[in-house]
């Protein structure tokens, strides 16, 4: 019958997957929720931290808004690195993050980027109105800090209304970068921290055109090991982390 032939096969399959699939025994690790603009810098910092403290780090990258939302609803993060300090402050006020652990760790910079396949390279925001530029990528201003800053810069330059029909929104800054890397768009505004990839050219955008992108981190209140999360924040802000952050285009606390 049905039950005799199909069900046992499925049950066996399910059990067989149990060994590989059940995340039952979780090794002690630190879960870091980090804004997408930290992708490249943290790829270097995390292994050093793991080695220095003998902790395994699980890095979850996403858009600051979405990660904040998940932490608010009890996501198992130990520490949160936002691309915008206002998200951290809101979560501190909601008692989801530990206020006493809050620390600025960087200030983000914007760049105007063009795929190498697109010529000529754009050097100023006004040029985005050129008819040869058909699609422009920015991160979604509704929830991505770099998107909001990009919108401010475009408004201040006076080209926002003119280029609105050309805009393509990335889910976060890595997604926006991907539009540029695949040359799906002719130009875009991304974070300096992710701009050093072989497929694109870029020029820095005057930071005076947008409110400063002050980035803050804090330990999650529900964390079972807040001291390790705090140690990670201090590591990023310490003598090992700072040079790496600087090399990836962040301005550092004390410099702004």
């Amino acid at each position: 019958m049905i039950r005799r032939s199909l069900s046992p096969a499925l049950v066996l399959a399910w059990l067989a997957l149990g060994s590989g699939g059940a995340p039952a025994a979780e090794p002690p690790s630190l879960t870091v929720f980090a804004a997408a603009d930290l992708a490249f810098a943290f790829r270097e910092i995390v292994p050093r931290f793991e080695k220095a403290l003998g902790v395994r780090v699980t890095l979850v990258l996403g858009s600051t808004g979405q990660l904040a939302q998940q932490i608010e609803h009890g996501a198992p993060a130990d520490v949160f690195f936002a691309a915008d300090q206002t998200f951290v402050d809101r979560l501190v006020a909601e008692r989801a993050l530990l206020g006493e652990t809050r620390a600025l760790y960087a200030q983000g910079r914007l760049v105007l980027a063009t795929p190498k396949t697109f010529a000529p390279k754009l050097t100023e925001l006004r040029r985005l109105t050129d008819p040869s530029v058909r699609r422009v990528a920015i991160a979604n201003p509704a929830h991505a800090p770099y998107g909001r800053a990009a919108e401010e810069a475009l408004r201040k330059t006076g080209v926002w209304e003119a280029i609105r029909p050309k805009l393509v929104y990335g889910e976060n800054i890595r997604h926006t970068l991907q539009f540029l890397q695949t040359a799906a768009v002719d130009a875009g505004i991304v974070a300096l921290s992710v701009a050093n990839v072989p497929e694109i050219d870029w020029v820095a955008i005057d930071p005076g055109l947008h409110a400063p992108l002050n980035q803050a981190a804090a330990v999650v209140r529900r964390s079972a090991r807040p001291e390790v999360g705090l140690a990670f924040i201090q590591f990023v802000n310490g003598p090992e982390g700072r040079p790496i952050m600087k090399r990836h285009g962040f301005r550092l606390p004390g410099e702004f």
Binding site: A9, W14, L17, Q70, E72, G74, P76
Partner: protein
């Protein structure tokens, strides 16, 4: 390459399919056989998850099962945490796919000749026995088709899972989320390999299932 997302996804999809069949078949039978007040509402509610964008659905689910939601708080009181665990991924897959089981099975049950069921009853069979020996075997193809669709939908579930289970590598990062992550990190080789595994897994499983189904009928 880390194959954890593959195992997790298969386990989540199989668990979700089993649960959707368990819940979906009685609901389908109810919709196919009974006229009751609120039937139209139930029928609309069943297809709602197909209509709502997955991320929206995921957000509302998170409001319910998150540590501030009513269900989340009740579970926490029992010492159970659902949000951001693999159980949440199963829930996401169930919500996303149960409509496919219900609609398909409902159509199957509606097409069963009621006289055959009546004949079984006149021969003294209980309702339970009529269902197992007449109704279900006659509607089996539709039920199986619904189960296969649900499995595929569960395996590919992305939006709801991202919201309620998160995208935590080694814990809740399912195959679709892992592929998304690799694509965003421009690690196209790994993304392609994982996508290929996803396709291969589905082909092998569906082929095996169709062989089993043919053996039976």
């Amino acid at each position: 390459m880390d194959l954890f997302p593959v195992w997790l996804s298969l386990r989540v999809a199989l668990t979700a399919t089993a649960l959707t069949l368990l819940i979906g078949i009685p609901v389908a039978l109810l919709l196919a056989r009974r006229r009751f007040p609120g039937r139209n509402v139930l029928e609309a509610a069943v297809v709602l998850p197909l209509v709502l964008p997955p991320t929206v659905l995921g957000y509302y689910l998170l409001l319910v099962i998150g540590n501030r939601g009513p269900v989340g708080r009740a579970l926490a009181a029992l010492g159970v945490e659902l949000a951001f665990t693999w159980g949440a991924a199963v829930l996401a897959a169930c919500v996303g796919s149960i409509a496919l089981v219900i609609k398909s099975a409902q159509a199957g049950f509606e097409s069963v000749d009621r006289q055959l069921e009546q004949a079984a009853r006149t021969l003294g069979r209980s309702e339970w026995s009529v269902f197992w020996s007449v109704t279900l075997p006659l509607a089996w193809r539709s039920v199986l088709a619904g189960g296969v669709l649900a499995f595929c939908r569960a395996l590919g579930e992305f939006g709801i899972t991202l919201m309620v289970a998160g995208n935590i590598p080694g814990r809740t990062q399912t195959l679709p989320l892992a592929i998304y992550d690799r694509v965003q990190a421009a690690q196209m080789d790994e993304a392609n390999a994982l996508a290929l595994i996803a396709v291969a897994a589905v082909v092998v499983l569906l082929f095996g299932l169709s062989r089993l189904a043919r053996l039976r009928y």
